[in-house]
Amino acid sequence: MSESLVDLSRLQFAVTAMYHFLFVPLTLGMTWLLVVMESVYVMTNKVIYKDMTRFWGKLFGINFALGVTTGITLEFQFGTNWAYYSHYVGDIFGTPLALEGLMAFFLESTFIGLFFFAWNRLSKTQHLLVTLLMALGTNLSALWILIANGWMQSPVGAQFNPLTMRMELTDFWEVLFNPTAQAKFVHTVSAGYVTGSVFVLAISAWYLLKGRDVEFAKRSFRIAAAFGLASALSVIVLGDESGYTVGEAQQTKMAALEAMWKPEAAPAGLKILASINEAQSKNDWEIEIPWVLGLIGTRSVNKEIPSISQIKQHNRARIVSGIEAVKALQALRADPLDAAAKAAFEQHKVDLGFGLLLRRFVERVEEATSAQIEQAVDASFPRVTPMFWAFRIMVGFAFALLALFALAFWSTLKVRSEARPWLLKWALWMLPVPWITCEVGWFVSEYGRQPWTIYGVLPTSLSVSTLSTTSVVGSLVGFVGFYTLLLVIELYLMIKFARLGPGTLGTGRYANEPTAMAAASHA
């Protein structure tokens, strides 16, 4: 398999997934903010909260309309660029994807329609219920997708069938309640809530800096600050839980993102900064906080976190065992009733994936030399430098957002928020940060899984379809053009309506009312 084809296919999936994920977190976060705003309206009967729900709902609607179906290009790629992957694990991977489409997407879309068009047809409480169901549908969509993704990180509830040459589902509930998937879900949706909160906070801060629609902006700012503070706390706490899960299921990822080349006495320290020397498998210097990594990764003070050298040693043994699994599989393919082959396969099947790592370096796995086994061992790890720095960017931004929300919340309690222009300017400049953090988070999660599409089961290099590189380059250019167009339209409409503000509702209560503008343009 050509390395350039594998890299191009990976690049295409990464680019399209990351473009798609520019739209998703805002949708996830805004739905719950709308629930909060509308709940306050129902409880207090103050019309300003209805206006808030309708105005922020309009911006949410722009994002949803442009973001919906952008995930379809990813589904295209499963069939075209990743056909072997789809064959090998489609039995498991396809189930949550189908459930997402059937259950969550239709629920979400139906109630989004009602949210926009049923303001005058439903009672206040009924409309609030619609908004709540819209938020639940949106989050259910994320749940099923992250169950599929969590299975790629930590495959459970399935086993390989040598006759059909594919993984088959053995326990749906194990897939559904996969701890990795659950941790990923809560961490990801919390990141979405932070994104929605920063969006509302930043635009409200801009209105306050301009001194317009002050009462509307102050209330929006307060709700975003409170919701954002809770979300930022939960994203950090749940990220810690994610780290613990990573420690259990994907020690490789943990060792890579901590640049832990050699074993360290428990509890290991968390590196803040380091100069990574990949060529010599060491850090030239490092600054660390004692104990923290050990506590996050193991929840104990005396349990060691496996280092890169230890994991590589472990992988070497699994690759050797995997060669035996491939040999037994060959025998079973020749004679499915071969009892000795069946017994050998049962003994080594958990390492089959590791044996397949050798296919990058040798045509016949059973003929691998010691040097080729060493190549496979080295390739069983993602590159440490990008993992190390991406993780630190993500965590650094997460704490910066927590500080912003804490100060913003405090300011709404203690003083008038508009009296602190430095805080408002800070909030405004932080607007792109949650998107950057989410994208970097995805990078840590997905790049950290390399060289696997399904961790320990199927190497990425064997998952790719045999396409021409020209075809992949062509579709890559097409997809990038498609997403860029959508992004430009999204930015244009978002900036336009955010600038116009709640006056676009035409209630007569805010600046930039359409009637006033129209009169001005006629004059």
Binding site: V326, Q330, L493
Partner: protein, 58 residues
């Protein structure tokens, strides 16, 4: 519904139509022509699990 809302609805409707058309074009150009054989035999050969046939050398 204000005139701004009506214009926004038109713009979003148009964007959705353009999006669906572009997706159809992308599918027609890059997805429809691709047919990958994903039989058990094909995958077996790909991962090197196919036993050597008589006369084949390693």
């Amino acid at each position: 519904m204000t005139h701004l809302d009506r214009r926004l609805a038109r713009q979003l409707g148009l964007a959705m139509l353009v999006k669906l058309a572009l997706l159809a074009v992308l599918w027609w150009a890059f997805v429809r022509p691709v047919h990958i054989d994903v039989s058990a035999q094909g995958l077996s050969a790909r991962i090197g699990a196919t036993p050597l046939q008589q006369g084949e050398t390693r």
